[in-house]
């Protein structure tokens, strides 16, 4: 299994505060992704990275920014958290194999009050 660690695993914060979620991988995978998962919705892509310092927006990127300064770390930042950003956030990686298989972390549950 790909070694993907997300931190924090649980966080409660207040509206308007900044929040950063961290994803760390030990597999040297080139591609990294942040998804959010909400009841009744599939996993929705927020941002993704195709290399160090190379990132792009996904389907639901408003209110989120990302950074990737090292291959192993992909940070997701909510500059000013809102209640609509209460969700479970999953980081995933892909080594660029033709299968497109994603390896997921265990998730970070964020509650914005």
């Amino acid at each position: 299994d790909a070694g993907i660690t997300q931190s924090p695993r649980h966080k409660v914060t207040e509206t308007g505060t900044p929040v950063t979620l961290r994803c760390h991988q030990t597999e040297n995978h080139r591609y990294m992704y942040w998804y959010r998962q909400d009841p009744g919705h599939g996993l929705r892509l927020i941002h993704y990275s195709y290399g160090v310092k190379d990132t792009d927006k996904g389907e639901v990127s408003d209110g989120y920014s990302v950074s990737r300064s090292k291959t192993e770390d992909f940070l997701l930042t909510l500059e000013s958290a809102t209640s609509s950003q209460t969700s479970v956030y999953f980081c995933a990686t892909n080594g660029g194999a033709n299968t497109g298989e994603l390896f997921f972390g265990e998730g970070s549950r964020l509650t914005v009050l």
Binding site: Y50, D56, E59, E101, G105, G107
Partner: protein
């Protein structure tokens, strides 16, 4: 609009029977389609991939079919066991989506296998 639909209602079956889960998509032309398993409080785990030029794929007790005419994939678990109880997610990558393996997911179907 583009959609991936999976049954939102849970599928309940008896142990030993075959479970069949459905994934329908509209307005996509998938390059390939994948199935994942997700247990409560855990991240999804990859199970199988099927390409747009393939009709069927098997792995142990799992079988996936892909009908691009019907725009549908079926996921079968034969001789289902209680340990197979989980939520199963369908995901696809559209053709000409620019690469980077940006998967689009359905909401998943929960399977409960009863002893």
């Amino acid at each position: 609009s583009q959609k991936i639909e999976q049954n939102s209602e849970a599928l309940n079956i008896q142990e030993g029977k075959t479970a069949t889960l459905t994934c329908n998509y509209t307005n996509y032309s998938p390059a390939y389609l994948q199935w994942y398993r997700q247990d409560p409080g855990r991240g999804p785990v990859f199970l199988l991939l099927i390409r747009e030029n393939e009709k069927e794929k098997r792995k142990e007790r799992l079988k996936v079919t892909f009908d691009t005419t019907l725009k549908q994939s079926l996921f079968h678990i034969t001789a289902a066991q209680p340990a197979d109880s989980a939520t199963y997610l369908c995901a696809l990558v559209p053709l000409f989506s620019g690469g980077y393996n940006k998967l689009i997911f359905g909401a998943g179907t929960r399977l409960a296998v009863h002893p």
